[in-house]
């Protein structure tokens, strides 16, 4: 009898999770399993195949992955370096009020990705953009055709716009792990500021920097709307290629799109996994 009661209690406990699990299964997990299955199925014969993954070796797909990884990697590195310094400048800013304003601004701007952001960059750095003209008029330097907002270099500028504030938000909590007393003791032992950062500050920050790098990488890798508005089909990126396949703008075997999707899920999974691990390590320093 007590055993039965216990058993009933457990089922009752998990029963509360059913609606949520049902929703996730219907709109997330089962569709992704379909994707996984589809990437290994030959559409005409309905047989198992790994051809879709072998097809990833074609120049177009190699280029798409290379461009996506390069764009995400570069903007993540730029974001981590500048975001860390800006984050530190904000963290050490004397006025609480301005600190709050800057953090709120970062919070809003990191979500400004997409079409409005892309269009704002066309306004300032397009062929007749405000900054393009300013540089032409006062420095007599023509940005075009060496630079174009509709190209890889333009995408870097637009992506850094949402990467930078994301890094600022990620790194600011990490600075509170570096205790003031450490700096004071290091100083009193004769260490200069460079030595302090080299031997104490950076090692403590290191897990947070790696966490930031992977978070930013994943953030850029999955982005679509900004790239779609700016470059459309002039540059091949993984997300753009998958988008074209869904929209039916390129007549390809859907299996190829699914293989691309599975590969990008693996790339995202790896970066999020490293992010989780390093965040856990970083939180060690925050415990007092």
């Amino acid at each position: 009898m007590p055993f039965q009661n216990h058993y009933r209690n457990i089922t009752k406990k998990w029963f509360g999770l059913l609606p949520f699990l049902f929703f996730c299964l219907s709109f997330e997990f089962i569709p992704i399993l379909f994707l996984l299955r589809g990437s290994f199925i030959d559409k005409s014969t309905n047989q198992f195949t790994i051809n879709h993954f072998l097809d990833m070796g074609r120049p177009l797909y190699i280029r798409s992955f290379w461009n996506s990884i390069l764009l995400s990697g570069l903007t993540a590195i730029i974001g981590v370096i500048f975001g860390t310094f800006i984050g530190y400048a904000i963290y050490r800013w004397p006025s609480e009020r301005l600190r709050q304003i800057l953090i709120t601004l970062s919070d809003v701007t990191t979500n400004f990705a997409g079409a409005p952001l892309a269009f704002a960059f066309i306004i300032i750095l397009g062929m007749n953009g405000v900054i393009t003209q300013f540089i032409m008029k006062y420095f007599n330097i023509g940005l075009y055709p060496n630079f174009s907002i509709y190209s890889f270099s333009g995408l870097i500028l637009a992506y850094v716009y949402f990467q930078l504030p994301l890094m600022v938000l990620t790194i600011i909590p990490a600075f509170s792990g570096i205790k003031k007393e450490w700096q004071e003791s290091a100083n009193s032992l004769g260490a200069n500021s460079f030595q302090f950062w080299r031997h104490i500050g950076l090692p403590v920050l290191f897990p947070s920097l790696i966490a930031g790098l992977t978070l930013l990488f994943a953030n850029a890798f999955g982005a679509y709307a900004t790239a779609y508005t700016l470059v459309e089909s002039q540059l091949s990126l993984v997300t753009l290629q998958i988008g074209f396949m869904i929209a039916g703008e390129v007549r390809h075997d859907p299996g190829i799109g699914m293989a691309m999707a599975i590969l990008s899920l693996i790339i995202m999974g790896l970066s999020i996994g490293i992010y989780q691990l390093t965040t856990k390590r970083a939180s060690r320093w925050l415990k007092t």
């Binding site: 406990k13 219907s26 379909f34 306004i123 007749n128 709307a225 988008g243 396949m245 995202m268």
Partner: protein, 281 residues
């Protein structure tokens, strides 16, 4: 002597930002604000492609933007989508988070993983998965499928504030108190828990609202022209008429700002409530 001077010197350092800080923050503000301000100015400029400053100011493009035939329909569709997403998200996520917190607390980390997981799925991949899986069914490429998609995509935004709010109140004690007084689970949730975590619920709802309102990828890839929303109209106009596109951008920026300010305001109110509660104890 030196000990006497040192504190004043240090105080000065604390109250005044260093030069490197000023430079970095100025550059950061420049980068973050110039694109936004330019969009605002561009939307009211008569012509701004030959000169550094606009040649004149006008509200003509807003008038034209409001006259675009699809304008009110897309705005209405975006509102319908965002509100449906918020409601679905509330119904699915709030009871689940509460249930796990109070009845199966040892699976909190599992719930956390499930709730944060959508961050790791690129929107195009989610769109492809849903389009393929529901191909040929009744909801294939319909707004209903889209609502499912945006609820999954915005799940972390609802989860975080709700979960934080539940942590802040003592949900277990409140639940036990309710049970002692003979209330059932539904009554405890609606009459005790929800009123206590209202700030978290509101912040989550607003975050979901603004995310879904600005959503482009899932909408264009899952339903496309069949259910045109405001962001789709904006992208379309970036290729047709820049001035009107700028006016649309300003509308979308302004909505994002308003929602952010509202979230901040609720956040500060919420803190006020908790600190008052602590004082009362």
């Amino acid at each position: 002597m030196t000990d006497f001077i040192k504190p004043t010197k240090r105080n000065k350092e604390i109250t005044k930002p260093a030069l490197w800080q000023l430079v970095l923050i100025a550059l950061f503000l420049f980068y973050m604000l110039v694109p936004i301000i330019s969009t605002y100015v561009f939307s009211v400029a008569t012509r701004w492609d030959r000169t550094i400053l606009p040649e004149g100011l006008t509200l003509e493009f807003y008038q034209k933007a409001f006259q675009v035939s699809y304008f009110s329909i897309t705005l209405r569709n975006s509102l319908i989508l965002a509100i449906s997403a918020v409601l679905t998200s509330l119904i699915i996520i709030v009871p689940t988070v509460y249930w796990v917190h109070t009845h199966i607390p040892n699976s909190k980390s599992l719930l956390e993983i499930l709730m944060i997981l959508p961050f790791g799925i690129p929107t195009v991949v989610l769109a492809l998965a849903l389009v393929q899986a529901y191909n040929g069914t009744i909801i294939s490429r319909s707004p209903f499928l889209l609502i499912g998609a945006v609820v999954i995509y915005s799940m972390p935004f609802m989860y975080r504030p709700v979960s934080n709010a539940l942590h802040a109140i003592d949900a277990n004690t409140l639940t036990e108190a309710g049970q002692c007084l003979g209330a059932n689970s539904f009554q405890i949730l609606t009459k005790i828990i929800i009123p206590n975590i209202i700030p978290g619920i509101l912040s989550g709802s607003l975050l979901v609202f603004s995310t879904v309102f600005a959503e482009f990828t899932l909408t264009t890839l899952i339903v496309g022209a069949g259910f045109k929303t405001f962001p789709l109209l904006l992208v379309e106009f970036t290729r047709i008429n820049g001035n009107i596109a700028a006016a649309f951008s300003v509308i979308s920026f302004t909505i994002a700002w308003l929602v952010s300010i509202l979230i901040l305001w609720i956040g500060s109110k919420g803190q006020g409530i908790t600190s008052e509660a602590l004082r009362a104890h």
